[in-house]
């Protein structure tokens, strides 16, 4: 479903962000993307989201190729990709339900469909009682739940999570991680970028790709195939 083939990315002012990264994420798979800050995790997320183009190599996502994708196709592709950030990226002047609804409004969904989906997702992320609260009235963990609900609103094939627990305390971190795991069990692939090794170690059943200086230095799936 997502395939990176020898992807290179250079910074505009020189220096390499990625040095020939290749891996494939299959439908319904859960994968940790680990590495220290600057290893290239966020760059990979942005490239998969088509927010940027690789300097060399190719990226294929849900039938689209980075080399040939058109601007309108990028918008359509993004409706198949949920994206969750460390800093939530919620609209501060809109309620939790309005933030989730916003992602459906841009697709031209009918109001009845929006109401129904938003209500279901708020219940799924455990915020049914806080639907009218503004982001500033919610805790960090609750804000991230709203962001996750927004990412799920278009029934994406894959959820990209870029350090989604980076701003959360331990309790909220595990709550959010459990939410991602449940989403994955329901069939959505998850690419979970984190430098929280504790989270990775305590979930040994999931695939792990480790990056260092823009290169893949460990891929548990490749190790397993090699063994």
């Amino acid at each position: 479903m997502i395939r990176l083939i020898d992807v290179k990315k250079e910074f505009p002012k020189g220096g390499a962000a990625l040095n020939g990264v290749s891996f494939e994420l299959r439908k319904g798979e859960f994968c940790f993307l680990t590495g220290h800050s600057g290893a290239g995790k966020s760059t990979i997320m942005r490239l998969i989201h088509m927010a940027d183009r690789p300097t060399a190599g190719d990226i294929r996502v849900a039938g689209y190729r980075a080399a040939t994708i058109q601007p309108r196709e990028i918008a359509m592709l993004r409706r198949k990709i949920g994206y969750v950030f460390q800093d939530f990226k919620l609209l501060p002047d809109r309620s939790a339900s309005a933030n989730i609804a916003f992602a459906l409004e841009v697709t031209g969904a009918r109001p009845a469909v929006i109401r129904s989906k938003v209500g279901r997702l708020l219940a799924q992320v455990g915020l049914a009682a806080r639907s009218e609260a503004l982001p500033a009235e919610l805790s960090g963990g609750e804000q991230q739940r709203v962001a996750v609900a927004r990412a799920l609103v278009n029934d994406p094939l894959v959820l990209l999570a870029d350090e989604p627990t980076g701003n959360l305390d331990e309790r909220a971190t595990w709550g959010i991680f459990d939410l991602f795991r449940d989403i994955n069990i329901a069939g959505t692939a998850v690419l979970f970028a984190t430098h929280n090794l504790d989270l990775v170690r305590k979930n040994p059943g999931f695939r792990v790709i480790e990056l260092d200086n823009g290169s893949v230095v460990f891929d548990s799936a490749a190790e397993a195939r090699g063994a």
């Binding site: 601007p71 993004r78 992602a103 409004e105 841009v106 609103v153």
Partner: protein, 285 residues
């Protein structure tokens, strides 16, 4: 479209000062164009009235044979440009002079013989009063051997037409200049609106909004600003028209098509300026 409309209207509530300033500047620009338009329109109306009175007068030699004059009169009446031809005899000319110039009554009373020549007055059709046409008709009439001289006020007629051309050109130049100024103001307002909403735009892109969906509210905002400015400009122009008509001299108010064109100009300036600004500045956020 409902989303674009809601967002465009929300922009006015969100930044009333900025959008009000934009609409105000467009109104001011179009108001100045409107004032000039009012002047140009009234000059045009005066010219039309003057043009309606344009006539060619052929003064006849004293030895002109009446039958030849009658024949020539019939021929001139058949010209495409001519509405009416009147023969004015020497006696009729003297009577007319006495009637129209009473201050010279004493002079006319003293003279023993009539010094005024007979003439043929040629009135032209309403749309046949341009300088070239008048010149052409005069040249044809001058061909008759019994015609001593032909007068049609060529000098002042040419000047009136030059004035009309200058007025029209000045209106176009002024209109274009202020359209550019108004465009720059709208573009600046749209740019500021884009920067104020850059987080929202980033989230729109994140969740799969097309560029058209993101652009539409800004373009509509420009359109509404332009229409609002156009309506205010028409109202201000009317206020000036009413004031001048009441206290200085009576003017004619602009036709509805001119007012509609003014508002449409505001709308076009608004939509074009915002579309260009959106296309340019959305890339930066």
């Amino acid at each position: 479209m409902p989303h674009a409309l809601t967002e465009a209207l929300r922009a006015f509530r969100r930044a009333p000062l900025l959008t009000g300033l934009s609409a105000g500047m467009i109104a001011l620009s179009l108001f100045l164009v409107g004032l000039f338009g009012l002047a140009a329109y009234n000059i045009r109306r005066v010219l039309e009235r003057v043009e309606a009175r344009v006539e060619v007068v052929a003064f006849l030699r004293d030895d002109a044979v009446p039958e030849m004059v009658t024949q020539a009169r019939e021929q001139i009446e058949a010209y495409d440009e001519v509405r009416e031809v009147r023969y004015v005899s020497r006696e009729a000319a003297l009577l007319k002079a006495r009637r129209e110039l009473p201050e010279f009554e004493e002079l006319f009373g003293d003279i023993e013989s009539n010094p005024l020549p007979a003439s043929i007055e040629v009135m032209l059709k309403p749309n046949q009063t341009g300088p070239t046409i008048v010149e052409r008709v005069a040249a044809r009439i001058r061909q008759y051997p019994f015609v001593e001289d032909v007068r049609y006020g060529s000098e002042w007629l040419d000047k009136v037409y030059v004035l009309r051309r200058v007025a029209g050109t000045a209106m176009l130049v002024l209109g274009a200049s202020f359209a550019i100024v108004a465009s720059l103001i709208i573009a600046t307002a749209i740019r500021m609106a884009i920067y104020a909403r850059r987080d929202e735009i980033a989230i729109m892109r994140l969740v799969g909004a097309t560029e058209g969906f993101i652009r539409r509210p800004f373009v509509l905002e420009g359109l509404f600003t332009g229409i609002g400015g156009g309506v205010v400009a028409v109202a201000l122009t009317y206020a000036v028209f009413a004031m001048i008509s009441r206290s200085i001299f009576q003017l004619e108010w602009l036709p509805q098509s001119w007012m509609a064109a003014g508002i449409a100009a505001g709308a076009v300036v608004g939509i074009v300026a915002s579309a260009i600004a959106v296309r340019r500045h959305l890339r930066e956020v």
